[in-house]
Symmetry: C2
Subunit: 489 residues, 2 copies
Amino acid sequence: MNLDAIKIDKTSKIPLYIQISNQIKSLLDEGIIEVEDKLPPIRLLSQHLNVNNVTIVNAYQLLSDEKVTYKVRGSGSYIAPKSEELMAQISEFDNAENQVYQMKEAQMVVHDYTINFATATPKSNLFPVTDFKKAINYVLDRDLGEAFGYQEAKGYLSLRESISGYLLHQNIHSTPENIQIISGAQQGLDIVAKSVLNYSDVVLVEAPTYSGAIASFRSRGVKIVQIPMLVDGVNMNKLEEIIKRYQPKMMYTMINCQNPTGYTYSMKKKDELLLLAKKYNMFILEDDYVGELIYSKQNSLSLKSLDSNNQVIYIKSFSKILMPGLRLGFMIVPDKLNQSILNAKQATDISTSGLIQRAFDVYLRNGQWEKQLKQMKKIYYKRYQKMIEMLNEHLPRSINYYVPKGGILFWVELPKTMDSRVFYESIKHKEIAIVPGDMFYYSDRKNNAIRLSIAAVQEDEIEEGIKLLCGYLRDFLCMNKQKEKLPIL
Amino acid sequence: MNLDAIKIDKTSKIPLYIQISNQIKSLLDEGIIEVEDKLPPIRLLSQHLNVNNVTIVNAYQLLSDEKVTYKVRGSGSYIAPKSEELMAQISEFDNAENQVYQMKEAQMVVHDYTINFATATPKSNLFPVTDFKKAINYVLDRDLGEAFGYQEAKGYLSLRESISGYLLHQNIHSTPENIQIISGAQQGLDIVAKSVLNYSDVVLVEAPTYSGAIASFRSRGVKIVQIPMLVDGVNMNKLEEIIKRYQPKMMYTMINCQNPTGYTYSMKKKDELLLLAKKYNMFILEDDYVGELIYSKQNSLSLKSLDSNNQVIYIKSFSKILMPGLRLGFMIVPDKLNQSILNAKQATDISTSGLIQRAFDVYLRNGQWEKQLKQMKKIYYKRYQKMIEMLNEHLPRSINYYVPKGGILFWVELPKTMDSRVFYESIKHKEIAIVPGDMFYYSDRKNNAIRLSIAAVQEDEIEEGIKLLCGYLRDFLCMNKQKEKLPIL
């Protein structure tokens, strides 16, 4: 292993040991180091990086805690094989009352006075209302009633052109004919489900995953098969086994900073996923909800940008960076699905609001979107750093969390024996809001993780909120330990 | 029969004989006169109304041509029994590629230079852009970013309250809890389909009907059974037979000025329909797309206003009176469907644009909606009168049309042996656009009717366009007659 591959930034607020640990995980993700590789000796690395031995000890301890490595006494640290079990669950659609599955996140109750780590929606004071108001008025003066007429079902042409141009910056080559404007990402999921999935088809999803996607798929009467999400993407051998067994029509995935885990697929796994899709003629539905919010340059390519075989349906939402209530997004549609997706869009709501499409086109062409993106990225990055700082400082040692490459979500894992739903119930009337991990599984399994979002919390709230949370977590751990000591009656 | 029931307006532009014929049809629709009733003697009625005998002769001839009455030589005219055949067609869903049925109207190509009797969408120069722009700016100044946040999935509370208040004028008693805001009527159809219909369920539709509804239902993999639409609503005995045979979950209907026929259910049939829904525990989906545009006071009650058993799901679009591109409408939802429809709305697009909801709320509360409605009604009524005048004057005698009670659609029936699709093909590159009747049937049956819409044609265009149309129709009739004379080879 080349020691130069590990780079640290001594001016950064992220503790050095975290930086080192993250670097090693990145190298693993990118396939530069592999399972059973030995980590550099502590003294060697500390000299190379010019840091204290203890820093390296802490970094390696973190990796070991996170089960990324295992230690061999008297020898050193080695990259651990992933201890995943095939968790594929097949759930027959019951042709009963309950065919519209409730989006689980919608069940959350959050009070105004809480520090809200639950919502993935930014607060409205960050919305570029003034700029967007200008764009709306400009459009109304320019287009008059045309702005309120039916639009092309595919979407306003000028907007599809400007999006296609914008996508070049993301290494995605598209044409306006392959862009389908949608009234938000959720509608995209619904339309794709209608176009691709028929009753009794199989669809693959990561576990955990976004419950709104499950709701859309389930509404089609399909079978849903879950495959465990790992820090660098699902296990490709297991995926192939599942594909062979169930012959799924489609797999739903979030490649970068997955919801809820924040995990990102390694470059190697992205390539492998596309190869499997080609080999087994399976569509991939890529939901890119925070692709712009990767804080490192490496490894943030979308699957669509690598999709030479045109099997990826790409959905893009503007909710997290612009404004969720805009109800605007787009899809990039493979040629062979173009007509059926257009038909499904028409049958769903005929067309997306012309006023909003036209105003956003102006907003995009004026460079205001880029400006807003830059600003939001800066704000989120500060929160992200604060979050890491606070979690590192306050999280009890028996609780792990994953440092995402970007985005807005942190996945915090309690000891495996514990039930995060019970923890959630114990604090749901307190000053902080979180989401228990079971919200992101199709089946109602016990789960030991919680999701923390930084979309709606300022840095001072993060500071206060994480301290509170960690206090509650410590109480919860104590309580559980006491319980374990109780005699069984 | 009481002669006073027939009223005429000598100052109206509508010819007297048409007025008399329409009055008699209304009396029939309302159940005041019935099948096998005898019409008043010609001389008696002409004296009573103080008009020429020939006027009554023409009126009775029109009713006879339209098969509303039959003549008995030496005795007089009698109301005819409806000559309907049970046309129920059951169409198995083929679990194949084509599960997203294309909305047939979307296939229409219309050029800019045409007189457009095809579109049911008003022209954008009638949209209240200035007023709505004011409402938007008012909301943006008042609510700032809140206007762009996620809204309650059920809809913005203040809007649901103002709609509930507005509905009282329509004799509909609702609560804000039963109002579901939707992104246009098409979305309403989609959401209801998701909530109520499962794979292999049966849904009843009128034939002909709106193809966008068929598209939504078909996408659910249901069986669609069509029942012929008659001038006063479907035959209730036949309906009961079909219900017994297929046990449908739901029936889709447009009670007032049906699309495409313009037919309106009689009061008697409205009551009977509700009784059948109760007896067989069937939901009714009422699509009220032009309920405000009835030009007589009588008989424009919605089914929802009569729905004491809470089995009617009511969908209201603002497309025809306000602006189609607004993508806003609402549903009134029976209690027992409230939760599943809310879930389906969330899985469909999470919520409808907050900005548009808030602006429309302001627009409604300021009384601007009522103002716009009044204005549009006036405009449409003038077109409606001009349409009747021109059709009466120019339509070849072998072609019938129905005078609707209101709305924007006219249904013109060619002789039964003729195929309106062939006629459509023969004129589709000419200066006028129409819709052939087969667009409104689920199966691709030959059809002899065409639909004419006055949504986007001004009075002068109606004058010119109907003259042109009638010329083409005459040519078409001649051509067909010549063909019939040809020896069979």
